[in-house]
Symmetry: C2
Subunit: 338 residues, 2 copies
């Protein structure tokens, strides 16, 4: 039953008009320093906080940032599990510093997500959206762009279309797999394979490119050393077995995900003496830490912070400026597996 203390209560207690209170808060430079301090003190004493609802009616800003949450069960190419969790935490924390709050929504696919945009925009009116799991020709991005709604994507727009000109934050996946590959090269490996996803997924192609880059630089063979399968432990195992059967000289595998890497690791155990095959994964999930898998770690908290920064800029500045991008560098967590 916390009786809500309004701006009028503060004005009364401070012996000023409610305008002065509002000014002390929103336009500090327009109030005498002494008055301002007094008002702020009363605000503190009374525990006054501006009502968001009232403020929103007046300003049209909800201070809400909406983001989709995927089911924990990794169904598609969305981020979920620890990755989303960590990202969300960072987003919530950074947003709070700017007075913003994170609101969640779910959606089965892009179409229903857009429907949710409309629903949200009509009711809660979030100030901005954070898009995850971006992909080629993302209709969500173009929809938001067309309506000039503020948003930032965690993930590059994997397209060169003008539709794709919007702020985004991403982690340089190619740099990650390249670092992993270089690490293996430094350890003396010469025939290093790659297990990734079928072409066309943007993220997957990027990760493959990093490996290919490092291999090409060493003028090592690459063509026959790459496999493309859907994500999953089983598939990783199959691909690893297939690759090793085709070329027994392979001593190391760079994988596009921890799942694939784990499968490869298991397969290696049943093929060779334990430890004879070096394997690296991607995302540094708890699984990787658990089994001692060397993995590429994404700076998720930093990515989240960057998203908020970009949004704040687009939201606070008068006319939203051009597109801005942030590409973060991942780091390699070296463990027993490689």
């Amino acid at each position: 039953m916390a009786e809500k203390v309004t701006i009028i209560d503060v004005a009364r207690a401070a012996g000023v008009s409610r305008q002065t209170v509002s000014n002390a808060l929103n336009s500090p430079e327009v109030v005498r320093e002494e008055t301002r301090r007094h008002v702020l003190e009363v605000i503190e004493r009374l525990g006054y906080r501006a009502s968001q609802a009232a403020r929103q009616m007046r300003t049209g800003r909800s201070r809400l940032i909406a983001i989709r949450i995927d089911p924990g069960d990794p169904g598609g190419d969305g981020i979920s599990g620890t990755v989303l969790d960590t990202f969300l935490h960072g987003l919530t924390e950074t947003a709070a510093r700017g007075g913003y709050r994170v609101m969640l929504y779910t959606a089965a696919d892009d179409r229903t997500e857009i429907a949710t945009f409309e629903e949200l925009l009509g009711s809660f009116e979030p100030d901005a959206f954070v898009l995850t799991a971006t992909h080629h020709d993302d209709i969500r991005a173009s929809w938001l762009l067309r309506r000039r709604l503020p948003f930032v994507a965690f993930g590059r727009p994997w397209s060169e279309l003008p539709d794709a000109r919007h702020p985004w934050v991403d982690v340089d996946g190619a740099a990650g797999t390249e670092a992993a590959t270089r690490h293996l090269l430094a350890a003396g490996h010469r025939r290093i394979g790659f297990i990734g996803w079928p072409p066309g997924s943007g993220v997957g192609d990027d990760r493959r490119a990093g490996w290919a880059r490092a291999i090409a630089e060493q003028e090592l063979p690459a063509d026959a050393l790459s496999r493309a399968v859907e994500d999953g432990i089983e598939n990783g195992g199959h691909a690893a077995r297939d690759l090793l059967a085709a070329d027994p000289g392979v001593t190391a595998l760079v994988c596009a995900s921890d799942s694939l890497a784990l499968g490869a690791l298991n397969a290696a155990g049943s093929l060779n003496a334990a430890g004879s095959l070096a394997v690296t994964g991607f995302d540094d999930t708890p699984v990787a830490r658990a089994v001692g898998l060397t993995s590429v770690r994404q700076p998720l908290a930093e990515a989240a912070a960057a998203c908020v920064t970009l949004l704040a800029r687009a939201l606070d500045d008068s006319e939203s400026p051009a597109e801005e991008h942030v590409l973060l560098q991942p780091s390699l967590m070296v463990r027993r597996s490689g």
Copy 2:
């Protein structure tokens, strides 16, 4: 640039007063059926949606449910990673059906979480809170209770104090470890150990109790077969080694978490021939699925739905009724490890 269509636009287009529109929406029984249908049709055609901010000003209800999100890095006894992720997804989905939205906040400890309650209550005014990671003498619960603020805890109040009388939803952890133990008994194991957390954690004690129950029923020895360590893979390994050294006759281990179980599994590999030790975990995390670990699965989506149901009841009914509880049964996911 979506022109916001207000209730007045609808009223004009439908040829009625704005009150009739409001009534058609909020008190359907007070409007003639024909009028109601016409209004609803216009609403649909115009894509009208009631402004939450305006509604909140009038009704005092924000239709916001706040919940804390922990860092992805499992630091304490909070839920995080896939568990929180799945729970959040379920919560968001179920809440949306009732017109509610989930809002996130972070907090380092109980004290700062309460400070966040105050801040949120003064600004965004969430209608309710969902508490996670409840523990003995939870000051958050008593704080909310004292102010008669609607909330539900995901996790029992591990205390009999009157302070602890509030709605909660939980999963029967003891039933889970008991089922795991019975499963091992049915497989012929007779000396079954338990690796859990230090006493006093509620959740941990509960899980240990399930194992003890099944063991006692078979009149099997228990005292020397239990170990208590902080959560973690390393600790699980140490505990398993210690336990097996003390009693080489042990053929199976029930663990309070997947992390402990994983450690035990690794330790077993280096002690015995692979597969000779049966191990079960708890939470059915991706790690468990990855390594084929038998684990107890919590019905998280159902738990989330139950939370929303309890909240909706407390929110929609006039005087909030007494405490209500929901205790869900977990299920055992049997895999190679046991």
